[in-house]
Amino acid sequence: MTSAPILLDVQNLTVEFMTRRGVVRAVQQVNVSVAKGETVGIVGESGSGKSVTSYAVMRILDRAGRIAEGAITFSGIDVRDAPESEMRDLRGREISMIFQNPRAALNPIRKVGHQIEDVLIEHVQASPSDAREKAIEALRRVRIARPEERYHAYPFELSGGMCQRVVIALALACQPQLLIADEPTTGLDVTTQKAVMDLVVELTRERGMSTILITHDLGLAAAYCDKVVVMEKGKVVEAAPSRDIFKSPQHAYTRKLMRSTPRIGVDLRDLLPEDMPPPAAQVASIDAATDKAPLLVVSNLVKEYPRQGVSGMMAQFFRRKNELPQSDVFRAVDGISFEIRKGESVGLVGESGCGKSTTSMMVMRLLDPTGGMITFDGDDIGAIPAKEFAKLPKRKRIQMVFQDPTDSLNPRFTAVRAIADPIMRLSDIRGRAAVRARCEELAGQVGLPEDLLDRFSHQLSGGQKARVGIARAVALNPELVILDEPTAALDVSVQAVVLNLLQDLKASLGMSYLFVSHDLNVVRLLCDRVIVMRAGKIVEEGLTEEVMSDPKTGYTRELLAAIPHPPL
């Protein structure tokens, strides 16, 4: 690899952003080089400057940002000082980019085929007469079935994985020499992730292209990259061939990152940094969980939704008589049954759209089931309409931690106000001082420093917001807590700490968890039992260890095989 000529060379790059609080250096003295045909991974947590580096290479930094120092050379062209017109030629034709969140990366109101044509015509790779043919060909190359039909599709008509294929087709349409993939699979299911990454690798290999893979996922970087650059707070802390870096990480940050990545054969406690003492709470009570009485019994639960476009009374009225009504409903949850015992954690796993979130919303009593029973501690709570359930004392016995710690907090509330909300509504604690004292006690339990309590959510970090969300959920001493991908939006090192916190809280407060996630690796760490869902049905259920080591169904095996593993 080292003998190949250098395609992209970034030397001492420093990028500055003008902000209200003065100049911020997002990237400092970064050196990265990419040889022809090489795949380089840039790994780091949020705020490490990995995306900014790639935007600087494309020179698409936003208005506030500028390259302050350093040189970027792409096959002999000085990117820093090249005129804008030359950069425009370069973008899309020589260097192209694929993005996180593929659906948002496509123009929502333009047919995907036309979007590919735009790029082809701009770079004179096609004339208006043959653009359509070439766009369809580009779609076919990224293995999109029936490309002639998909040409006319709008992004909202395609799945996330399909959208990412279109973005890849767009990026590769002009046969560029360098592809920058910025978190290309974040937000996609593991199986889709594998398919997309395999496709990228295959297409870039067969054209001898170079790739920069920007990711926070060490496993992904290890599986697909020749060389890995680890970034922390705008600086490169380590750069080495991926084989070496995973075998003998040199920098403390790299080691910390690797430690906190969930992987097979590793216990929850092992994820914490070496210098962090193991928590005092004991894990003794877990074994006893199995023979306790069931806390929640779900039987034959069904949720149906009307299909789009045929809802509403007026629509019924105007529907032609020969149309069949059966096709009007879509079963998101199709007759599932399971139970959760006291003190037990159960993982609910599946890909997006499998009905796991719908199930959790029904158990949480935010959504009314179409059929079936939800029995909580002997009472049928499924029959109580969601609106009324919010007023019942039972409400405080089931609580939830939401997926996005930022979006699930009221931006106008301080942390203490957010935690106090359920206390003031549903508990007997009255009076300012008493509520405040309870909030401080909870903050202590979830490890949130007291001086942060009066901050607003935008003044808190992701991990701190997650703690506020957890404190709010456990404020009423619930018996069942539903965790809806509580760590999906967090960096791995923060995720490790939050998962440990959840485990400790469960032991000390005696709660049961329903952990909803698409990430089997994370579920395995926290749960006693796992339920695997697909298309609204349960395909497999069992003790975590058994399901993980000896999956019974092909689908579970497929899910497990799709997880990228760092070679540790």
Binding site: F99, N107, P108, E122, G309
Partner: protein
């Protein structure tokens, strides 16, 4: 498509029924005695009573309402006591005058405001952005009767460029044969460029007055929604694919930014149509707004009912048009239907 339009109409029926009931009740509780006004200041109580009886005002309210609805069903909006004409004839005469004025004002406004808003967003923080802010603020803060009078003063009194602000057409010209009721269009259909020019010169000042007033919401909305779209992911993708700035701004950003602008346009249009009474007064424009005001002052309830009902129906039609425009712009809306 037809089914969708039908569906939209169906959802508008309850609001039209509501409007009928509310306007009926409102005009009945308004102060002022219609019969007394109609009979004149010298009438005896007996004469007033007689008139009340002929107008059916002595009947209980439900009975009056039923009769009113029955008349509506036959297309009879009642008779205006002040003009002595059926309300429907009056409205048919005056609505095109208002509509023509408002439409032209809106078109002028769009032609200036939309490009200005786009420029302000693309060159955020530049001189153009600030200029756009000043123009828009000034336009909306000057009352229309004031800008109207200034325009008349400058262009008629001092410069003498425009004709006297006395209605839709100079008295030397005859009204073009009625086709649409819009003089500009009718005169063109009749092949009469002289009348067209005359109608246009009468129309231009009030239309500009309206345009200046409506500049602000459209410019600000265009700018805000362009800014939001320009910072979105797909514009970044377009830029990263090396598309030209023109393509990025027009095809990618603007079309997406149009949805809120179209919503604003609809609101501005319906607002102007009913609220340009002041402009109509300043320019002696025989529009529907001044008609309604005169009727209101005279406690003449049939024209008021007719006016409100016409406005409600126009509003429903306008919203329908905007919804359909949405569908043209955004395929996601088409699907939901």
């Amino acid at each position: 498509m037809l089914r969708q339009i039908g569906k939209r109409f169906a959802t508008a029926i309850p609001s039209v029924i509501g409007v009928i009931i509310v306007t009926f009740l409102l005009t009945r509780v308004l102060p002022g005695d219609t019969a007394a006004y109609f009979a004149g200041p010298a009438a005896t109580p007996q004469a007033i009573e007689e008139i009340r009886k002929t107008l059916g005002l002595d009947r209980p309210l439900p009975e009056q309402f039923v009769r009113y609805v029955k008349d509506l069903g036959r297309g009879d909006f009642g008779k205006s006591l002040t003009t002595g004409q059926p309300v429907i004839t009056d409205i048919a005469q005056r609505l095109p005058a208002s509509a023509e004025l408002t439409l032209l004002g809106l078109i002028i406004s769009i032609l200036i405001a939309v490009p200005l808003g786009i420029l302000a967003a693309v060159k955020q923080g530049s001189l153009i952005d600030h200029a756009c802010r000043v123009v828009a603020t000034a336009g909306v803060s000057l009352p229309v009767f004031f800008t109207g009078l200034i325009l008349v003063y400058v262009f008629y009194f001092i410069l003498g460029w425009s004709p006297a602000p006395l209605g839709r057409l100079d008295i030397y010209y005859s009204t073009p044969p009625h086709v649409t009721g819009f003089y500009l269009i009718d005169s063109l259909i009749a092949g009469d460029p002289g009348t067209f020019r005359a109608a246009l010169s009468q129309l231009i000042l009030p239309a500009v007055t309206l345009a200046i007033f409506s500049l602000a919401p459209i410019t600000r909305m265009t700018r805000a929604s362009m800014l939001a779209v320009l910072s979105s992911d797909f514009v970044r993708t377009a830029r990263a694919s090396g598309l030209s700035p023109r393509r990025v701004i027009v095809t990618y950003a603007f079309r997406n930014a149009m949805l809120p602008v179209v919503t604003t346009l609809g609101m501005v249009f319906s607002f102007l149509l009913g609220a340009n009474v002041l402009v109509e007064k300043v320019f002696a424009w025989p529009g529907i707004g001044s008609y309604a005001i005169e009727a209101l002052i005279a406690s003449d309830f049939a024209p008021i009912q007719g006016f409100v009902l016409t406005m409600a129906i126009l509003y429903v039609l306008l919203n329908l048009m905007i919804d359909m425009l949405y569908g043209v712009i955004d395929p996601r809306v088409r699907l939901e239907g």
